[in-house]
């Protein structure tokens, strides 16, 4: 029985638009029957107020370390035992998670544009989906990244948008 290979992991902080397809292709693997991708996009409202765009700021060297740790922890948690001979009825097992890609954009992100992508490939469906959900939870809890909503509200004192 082959043991699972170490997961392929990539993490990036990008100032340019994120290419979701390239993220999917990065994780695609003959060992994987499932790819799950989460894409965070800039919504047009914040607590009911119109949003013009988002501005993301990042402590980049630390953020890269945190994202790498998040990916490694998540891949380890959803690793498989390499046994592909068994029928899986629960959407897990086999090689488990085999690849993960995390990319976060910084700078100005327009409405509908992508701010973050997490892609994960696994032998089976639930490992892939759960690993992505968990990586997003950990990213939001730990990565030193800040979002600021640029709202369509003019400050009456300064005349600038807030």
């Amino acid at each position: 029985m082959p043991s699972p290979p170490p997961p392929r992991i990539r993490v990036r902080i990008l100032t340019e638009p994120i290419d979701e397809r390239e993220s999917i292709e990065f994780v695609r693997s003959p060992l994987a029957g499932a790819i799950s991708t989460f894409i965070g996009t800039a919504r047009n409202t914040y607590h009911g107020v119109d949003v013009l765009e988002l501005a993301y700021e990042c402590y980049e060297p630390m953020a890269l370390e945190v994202l790498d740790a998040v990916a490694r922890e998540t891949c380890a948690r959803y690793a498989g035992d390499g046994d592909e001979r068994r029928v899986t009825v629960d959407g897990r097992g086999g090689m488990g998670v085999v690849a993960m890609d995390i990319a976060h954009r910084v700078g100005t992100v327009g409405v509908t544009e992508t701010s973050v992508v997490v892609s994960c490939a696994a032998s089976h469906r639930k490992d892939a989906c759960d690993a992505v959900a968990e990586a997003m939870e950990l990213l939001k809890a730990r990565a030193p990244i800040w979002k600021k909503e640029i709202l369509d509200v003019v400050d009456e004192t300064s005349g600038t948008r807030v």
């Binding site: 939001k140 730990r142 030193p144 800040w146």
Partner: protein, 88 residues
Amino acid sequence: MPLLNVLLFARARELAEASSTTLTLPDDPPASVADARAELLTRFPQLSGVLQTSIFALNKTYVKRDDERVAIVRAGDELAVVPPISGG
């Protein structure tokens, strides 16, 4: 007298009108993150509010609020003020 590099982000950066600063702290007894927090407040009183909800990262590792007194800072260390994060 360690010279500590301090990075300021998000609301802390906006209020301080600076993305970084340096602090000179006593080295006998060695200064802690708690001392840096106090010195920052003296230097930038306008950070009073945001510092209450911020934690520090020392050389890219978060320092728990309860550990600030025991986390020693050394010359050349990088200390970051981390207001509540909101990535994703």
